[in-house]
Symmetry: C2
Subunit: 229 residues, 2 copies
């Protein structure tokens, strides 16, 4: 059998549902939704049906029966196979135990930060911070409600995780904005200088070709310097 490629976590969620009992795809989607899983696992119909099809092809689930009520569309009920049960636990264990490198959009943006003028960058970071605080409050409100219902921690764990990461990002973003403005961020001087020159019509190209002339001795070392993770 072709090796699973374990890309879309939605497939894992499907297996997890079918471990409980056989269901048809639409029922899987409503189940996931009612349990709030769609907040942690991206769920959309297009993917759901193709993921189910692919799981069946791999022998991890099998169609059990096809029913239809009246003239509604057919519903195919799927059940998990033994291979599927194993795959489910195995996959989950892997997701927990080995971190995968995820490319976030903020990281991408930060790596191109040079393109923005420093004060502008600081302003945008403040904006982000404000939005992050709003998200944080949203989670806190949800947690307060959950606490009042005495839900066990296990049901909130993914949300606690999100809250942790949100807080760390907020901390990073506010510190960065502050340091850019205060100059504590090392090299802000020539970053600012680059944008002053650009405002007078000197482009990146010229800067890269003659960093010494425009930015001074040190700058030469930085251009096209290979960077590290």
């Amino acid at each position: 059998m072709a090796r699973r490629q374990r890309s879309n976590p939605l497939a894992l969620a499907v297996l997890a549902c079918l471990v409980e009992r056989p269901m048809h795809p639409y029922e899987i989607s409503t189940t996931l939704r009612s349990r709030g899983k769609e907040l942690s696992i991206k769920l959309n119909y297009g993917s759901l049906y193709s993921v189910v099809e692919s799981l069946e092809k791999q022998g991890l689930i099998r169609a059990r029966e096809t029913t239809r009520e009246g003239r509604r569309p057919e519903r195919t009920v799927y059940e998990i196979t033994d291979a599927g049960t194993i795959e489910c636990e195995d996959w989950l264990a892997e997701l927990i135990s080995v971190p995968v490198r995820e490319f976030t959009s903020l990281e991408a943006a930060l790596s191109l930060l040079l393109l923005l003028e420093p004060n502008e960058a600081a302003r945008l970071l403040d904006e982000r911070a404000e939005r992050l605080r709003i998200d944080q409050r949203g989670i806190d409100a949800a947690h307060a409600e959950a606490a009042s219902m005495q839900l066990p921690d296990l049901f909130l764990i993914e949300s606690v995780y999100r809250r942790t990461m949100l807080t760390a990002e907020l901390q990073f973003v506010t510190t960065l904005a502050r340091d850019i403005r205060s100059g504590a961020f090392q090299g802000t001087d020539w970053w600012r200088r680059i944008h002053e020159l650009r405002a007078v019509g000197i482009g990146f190209e010229e800067l890269a070709q003659d960093p010494v002339g425009h930015l001074g001795e040190e700058a030469a070392r930085w251009f096209n310097q290979p960077q590290s993770s």
Copy 2:
């Protein structure tokens, strides 16, 4: 013109390169690589060429010339348009200022943690922690090297961000593992009980149908309880 959908950050990186000077796609890829951007922005050839094509269709870049040396494949050199320059700054500003919800695989896994036996879960979390520590040390080594070359902070900022998030995740993961084992994690008792019952052949299905009988009064409230973000 059709509204940009700003999905793949690689397109932004392409624009950012072309702001500097006209290049052909392969040159863009080597430039990004030599500057270490491919550590923050996923880069693969297939995507690069389709992204370039799409940017051209949208009028954000234009083909300047097509050259060929000997019998090598053609190289098409692209340059950025005015619309492209604007889009580049605008997009970057958006990425910085508005956080987007990203679905991480750990979050997905945590939302299904119930499926693993608690001690097993704790063990897997420890494994992850160890791997995260290794990643952390890798970043630290890279930073030490960068410091010895006196690279300005701006060139390391995305890596500092990664390090921040890594640390937060590590903190979360170790705490969680500890709390599961100590029982500080509220509800570990019935989580453990569920798996004891399963080991004796009582499946999730039966539990969900008669939570009171198997797990006691309180458990009834939790099943199929809608959850919050």
